[in-house]
């Protein structure tokens, strides 16, 4: 008897602990974290329930390889021209450096120069000589470095603990992807998108010539513009109309790499603008540039677009400002992007799952309604069909749900809408274990066994059947967890935990109930 008391007591203690952990989910988070009484952790709501933005962002990492190849090409050209070898062309494309038009006399010298670059190797299967690619190690190094840099910049823009968006998450996913999750309706989707997608590459260039449109500007150069020059346009922030076109050098005079800080501020008319500060080295370069070009226009270019091109009135060293036609929000976001630094390669959104807070709330409500109704119907049916034993099953089912919620809270599992579906399915299927056992007991009773023996044999014979049946479902749930993404993973989570708790509830909780009553008593009838 004392063993039985211990058994029943342990189950009760387990359920009480689970109830306590589960109850904490209903306490507001701040209160929970301040209080000594409640645990800090709890079930997390998936973005499909609390609303939010889920992005899988592809990093265009091949661009980094291309940049590296261009860098190596320039170095190689310089080395060759120092040796007086000229006439060849070197093109960087498709992940390769292709040297062509090689004068026969300088073939060996060129090959030697290329071989001297440690990070290059000759492409062995190339039909013509002179094809080089990055070594595997170096290519890997470049990719890793680029991913680390992109991740760092996006973190500073989005999930910075101080200035970022609260509770947002930026994590690496695989070789060339970043997962961005921004919960709740705290940021407008298009604003978030601008924060994410702005490459943040800031350049300053002296304006060589300007006109009202690109066509007018081009008309001035009937022979075409020089190869080292390019034309960039300035657009009105609201109408997107081109307001000016500028002839600029391709190479920037100074870039945003030297920026120390950027912040939102205001001009005399209280219009928002972004003011910035260079570091000492940047200040020196900028000071020289501005003092040499007083009276000229300086184009401020972000991501290939000219934002403004003020005339340089005097020497400026460390402090400057970017005037555009911004709203306060745009200026503030631009300051964040500048402060966080430039992405070394562009990023592309490859997958999006965004849910508005209203729909999330709807889903919570309808999910709760469906689960509660399903749960009640199953309870009523079970109690009606199996009477006292049915009540046992109902108690086991309730314990089951409390344990399920407790385990999920403990592991800080994420509850998603498919997760709620998994819960409903668990409720439907959890009864199964009890049904298997009860039907077996009924059969034994019909075969003329006494209630006590029938219960014992029923549990004994049904145990493996229950395990078999649930292990198969568990296997598929685990495979779904492995292959599933996002909300679907939530289904696998509730289903797998639900299976474990259901088996426990049926084989241990219901069993203990039978041990308590009728237990050792010799009753003539079993209410089943």
């Amino acid at each position: 008897m004392s063993r039985l008391t211990f058994r029943a007591g342990s189950i009760l203690a387990l359920v009480l602990i689970a109830s306590y952990i589960t109850a904490a989910n209903f306490v507001p988070k701040e209160q929970r974290q301040q209080s000594e009484f409640w645990p800090d952790d709890g079930i997390r709501l998936g973005l499909d329930l609390q609303g939010g933005i889920h992005w899988v962002v592809g990093v265009q990492i091949d661009e980094a390889v291309q940049h590296e190849l261009e860098f190596l090409r320039d170095g190689l050209l310089e080395t060759l021209s120092d040796q007086g070898i000229e006439g060849q062309t070197i093109v960087a494309e498709d992940g390769r450096l292709q040297i062509s038009n090689i004068p026969p006399a300088s073939l060996e010298a060129i090959q030697a120069a290329a071989a001297a670059v440690g990070s290059l190797r000759a492409v062995s299967d190339s039909p013509e000589p002179g094809a080089y690619e990055l070594t595997d190690e170096w290519s890997q190094e470049i990719r890793e470095r680029t991913m680390a840099q992109v991740l760092e910049v996006l973190r500073r823009r989005i999930d910075d603990p101080v200035r970022g968006i609260p509770d947002s998450v930026v994590t690496r996913q695989g070789d060339d992807r970043v997962l961005v999750q921004i919960p709740g309706g705290q940021i407008d989707r298009s604003r978030a998108r601008a924060l994410l997608k702005s490459t943040g590459f800031l350049e300053f260039k002296i304006v060589l010539d300007n006109a009202e449109s690109e066509a007018l500007l081009r008309a001035r150069y009937p022979d075409g513009i020089a190869e080292e020059h390019e034309i960039s346009v300035e657009r009105d922030g609201e109408t997107e109309q081109v307001v000016a076109a500028y002839l600029l050098r391709k190479a920037p005079d100074i870039t945003g790499d030297y920026l120390d800080d950027a912040r939102l501020s205001w001009d005399q008319q209280q219009r928002p603008l972004v003011s910035f500060r260079f570091n000492p080295e940047g200040g020196r370069i900028f000071g020289d540039l501005t003092s040499e070009n007083i009276g000229n226009q300086l184009a401020i270019i972000l991501d290939e677009n000219v934002y403004s091109a003020p005339v340089i009135r005097s020497r400026i060293s460390t402090n400057g400002q970017i005037e555009g036609r911004y709203t306060v929000q745009q200026a503030a976001d631009l300051a964040v992007v500048l402060r966080a630094g430039a992405l070394s390669v562009p990023v592309v959104i490859e997958e999006e799952r965004s849910v508005g807070p209203a729909l999330g709330q709807d889903s919570i409500e309808s999910g709760t309604r469906a689960s509660l109704t399903g749960f009640s119907l199953v309870l009523i049916f079970t109690a009606f069909y199996y009477r006292l034993s049915g009540l046992y099953a109902c108690i086991a089912l309730m314990f089951n749900l409390v344990l399920l919620a407790g385990v999920m809270s403990l592991f800080e599992a994420t509850l998603t809408l498919p997760g709620i579906a998994g819960l409903v399915l668990t409720v439907g299927m959890a009864v199964d274990a009890n049904v298997i056992i009860f039907e077996r007991i009924r059969e034994e009773l019909r075969a003329g066994k006494t209630p006590r023996t029938a219960v014992a044999i029923g549990f004994q014979k049904a145990t493996w059947t229950v395990l078999d049946a649930n292990i198969t479902t568990l296997i598929t749930a685990l495979i779904l967890f492995e292959f599933g993404t996002g909300p679907i993973k939530g289904f696998a989570v509730t289903l797998s935990i639900g299976i474990l708790t259901s088996v426990f509830a049926a084989l241990v909780v219901t069993r203990t109930a039978f041990m308590l009553y009728p237990g050792g008593r010799s009753v003539s009838q079993l209410s089943i």
Binding site: V56, G58, E63, R189, R193, K197, F201, E304, P346, V348, I349, E350, E351, E352, S354, G356, L359, S366, G367, R369, A370, T373, L377, F384, Y385, Y386, R387, L417, P418, I420, V424, L425, V427, G428, M429, D432, V435, I436, E439, R442, E443, K461, D468, A469, N470, T472, T473, L474, I475, T476, A477, I479, L480, E482, F483, G484, T485, I488, A492, I528
Partner: protein
């Protein structure tokens, strides 16, 4: 007296109807195969790629599918969008689906390229969702975007292959488990029963022209688990009865086992279907495709474990010629 749905002592000749049911199932599978060229297998945004946005107009705004379509047709934001009302006729919610979404556009020219192929750093990209929102709020009335699902071509291809792998691994794992737990004699029957359920459920989706997406895939995997669960319980009983009644003919043992487990089969499907109906009717639009697939799957799974799984055992035994110990003649006669 206990309350019983299936009275004890029920003895329905399920095995005798095996052939009829096998024909029925085969017919259904054939029809769905024949429908594939007609209807095509419709893949949702998850697998086919593209965008799906759910919009809700503010109260008082009159909107219908036609208005949305013509508002969008006047612009060149998206080509050939599909627009359906979400929920009942009075609902102000619509689901707009279109190809592409977050396309990379080269800087000046505005030529659309596939994402990932954008060359050089001179790329900007258009956000079609935002453009549609602007077009609709200007042309029809104020609205909010409730949900955006966008799957790019690369992710779509990955989800497709992951989905197929998941189905493959699940089937393989199940086969291994059944082979370990039961003899290799039972395993093929269980696996055929599972495939039967998957094929028939998918077939019904094809015939009804419903879309396959991640939610449906999750349901299919859950169906694998459920269907096998059902089959295993019957096979467990068959194994037990075969040990007890070594003299009886195989069809008789099979029939007896199916009948003995019948009330369990019916009750469990009953509670599971009850819970699923609640999910289908009360769980909201987003989860409905999942609930629907599960409802069909559980119904088909129940049918197959009664009418297909056990007769299948007879068929497999008869053809393999080995027979159960001492019962070969009875089984094949």
């Amino acid at each position: 007296m206990p309350f019983e749905i299936i009275p004890s002592g029920t003895n329905i000749d399920f095995i005798g109807r095996g052939k009829l049911c096998a024909t029925l199932s085969a017919g259904l599978i054939l029809i769905s195969l024949a429908m594939i060229p007609v209807q095509g297998i419709r893949l949702g945004v998850d697998f086919a790629g593209g965008s799906e946005m759910q919009v809700r107009f503010e109260p008082g705004v009159t909107a219908d599918e036609g208005m949305i379509r013509s508002a969008l047709a006047e612009t060149d934001v998206v080509a050939d969008p599909s627009v359906v009302r979400f929920g009942d006729v009075s609902s102000r919610e619509f689901l707009i689906k279109f190809k592409g979404g977050e396309d990379v556009v080269s800087g000046a020219g505005g030529e659309v390229e596939e994402p990932g192929e954008g060359s050089g750093s001179a790329t900007a990209s258009v956000d079609r969702v935002q453009m549609i929102e602007a077009v609709l709020s200007e042309g029809i009335g104020p609205l909010t975007v409730q949900r955006v699902d966008f799957v790019g071509p690369r992710v779509g291809a990955e989800l497709r292959s992951d989905g197929l792998w998941a189905l493959f691994w699940a089937s393989l794992a199940i086969l291994v488990y059944v082979t370990i737990r039961f003899s290799s004699r039972f395993a093929p029957g269980a696996v055929v029963a599972v495939f039967h359920d998957l094929l028939v459920t998918s077939g019904i989706f094809v015939i009804l022209g419903l879309e396959f997406d991640l939610r449906v895939l999750a349901a299919l995997l859950a169906i694998i688990g459920y269907s096998l669960n059902d089959t295993i319980i019957i096979y467990d009983r068959i194994r037990e009865n075969m040990a007890l009644r070594t003299k009886a003919a195989l069809p008789e043992v099979l029939n007896q086992s199916v009948n003995q487990t019948l009330s369990r089969t019916v009750l469990t499907s009953g509670t599971t279907l009850t819970a699923l109906f609640c999910l289908y009717f009360l769980g909201g639009e987003v989860i409905r495709p999942f609930a629907f697939a599960m409802l069909i799957g559980v119904a088909v799974g129940t049918y197959s474990s009664i009418y297909i799984a056990a007769p299948l055992l007879l068929l497999l035994e008869g053809e393999s010629g080995e027979g159960f110990a001492g019962r070969k003649d009875a089984a094949t006669s």
